[in-house]
Amino acid sequence: MILRPQFSDFKVIGFYLSKLVIGVALFMVLPMAVAFLAKELNPLYDFFISFLACLILGSILYIVCYTKEEARWSHGMVVVSLAWALAAILGALPLFLSGHFNSFLDAVFEAMSGFTTSGLTLAQDLGHMSYAHNFWRHLMMFLGGQGIVVIVLAYFVRGATGAFRLYVGEGRDERLLPDIRQTARFIWMVSAVYLVLGTLTLGIILFFEGMPFLKSIFHGVCIFMTGFDTGGFAPQQQNVMYYHSLAFEIGTLMVMLLGAINFKLHYVLWTGNRKEIWRNIETRTLFFAIMFAFVLVALGLSKMHVYPTALALFRKGFYHLISAQTGTGFQVVYSDQFVNEWNGLSLAGLILAMSLGGCICSTTGAIKMLRIGIITKTFISDVKRHISPALTVLIEKMHHIKDSILTDAQMRSACLVTIAYIVVYVTGAVIGMLYGYPFVESLFESTSAAANVGLSCGITNPGMPDGLKIVYIVQMWAGRLEFMSVFVLIGFVVALIKGK
């Protein structure tokens, strides 16, 4: 029997949502400060209006839904799925007011792409966008990569139990520290340390590559935010190609890979257990996945003599492989070149990399390395079982921070989520084909959206059908939350209609 949600359930959900909405409002103060410093009056008012709109919505939710009840599991999942959808709508307000988007739907697409750290963009005339609006595009990625719920957990939520349920709903289940709020604050500490180091490094590189000092810092901080949070937005329409700099590309490669590492692994390495870098199942799987996918990419590109030198192959081929694997989406070739110059084998390598993703509890999307590692071990274990004597008891172990036995529940969970991702990739591809796009390109773009990568072969553009925009918005949203929160939300709605 399905129980219909009660008014108290709505109050809990609304109350937690109010804190998240107010959190989004507070973060809009940062681009307001940028607009003030850059003397951009219209953008200042765009953000001020959006800030006030968020405060109004948050205040109304707070007043109407005020409660002292803690969130249950179902509440946590529903709050998270709605929070992300709401953040995209609210984050779209200043973008729509900027005039750089054809419609509010395009602005919502951009905001969802930003918060989910996807990187597919519908922005027009980026070269003339204000510093404030551009900064907001990149800041959304930084906030989304950390987990907007994680942010609120760290500072706004008092109850630890409810906080943990929100944390898990956001697609993270790694407990770094005993208190979930300490975990959230640790994630922020790692990001802050690398923000300073990364911005300085990238900014200095750009300064020596001929960019004025202040602009170097601005671009450095923007690219770091979207690189470390494996988002993929860039301040200019040519993306990372704009800089024409090998040194900068190497810097961004390092930033992307840092973002793809599990925060738990950062914690372990930063507290003295440095051997974990190689013992960990995820780093090993990531290493071999990158090399295998790059063999496919390099084979395709070399066979067709697409790039003349090893350095060119590294800059274009390997760069995109890392961009795809980490789910960042930085591009150093034009979208048309993927279609016109890269052959099927290279694109297959990229699609494979995009579909697999980086480490769990990192800023990347997609299936993730821990699950791939578990599935690989499951497969090996099954083969061993078949070739071993009938009464043999086989125990499969794995090392992820500590040695543990691989349980059936873990194997089942890994397989289920993997199947869910593959179904979404293929569904998006089929819908793309229904709109008239070829198979490979449809699969490429669908995988890019659902895995929150952001590489585009040209389908994503302001002229694409609105229906496909909505499909990709939903894919980005569901992919970021690893589906469970979205399924619970659907279940909640069904319970509302059919429950007793």
Binding site: V193, L197, I250, L253, M254, L257, L258, I261, H266, L269, W270, T271, G272, R274, I277, W278, T283, F287, I290, M291, F294, V295, A298, L299, L301, S302, K303, H305, Y307, T309, A310, L313, F314, G317, F318, L321, I322
Partner: protein, 39 residues
Amino acid sequence: MFRLKEICLGILVELGFILLILVIGFLIGWGMLTFFNRF
């Protein structure tokens, strides 16, 4: 809980691992290109 020395060493280990990936990736690409240019 966190000592500056351990944090710095941890960061260096991470960057070293990443550099290893970049170097091996470059070598794979170089090897492929050399092979297909020759044959």
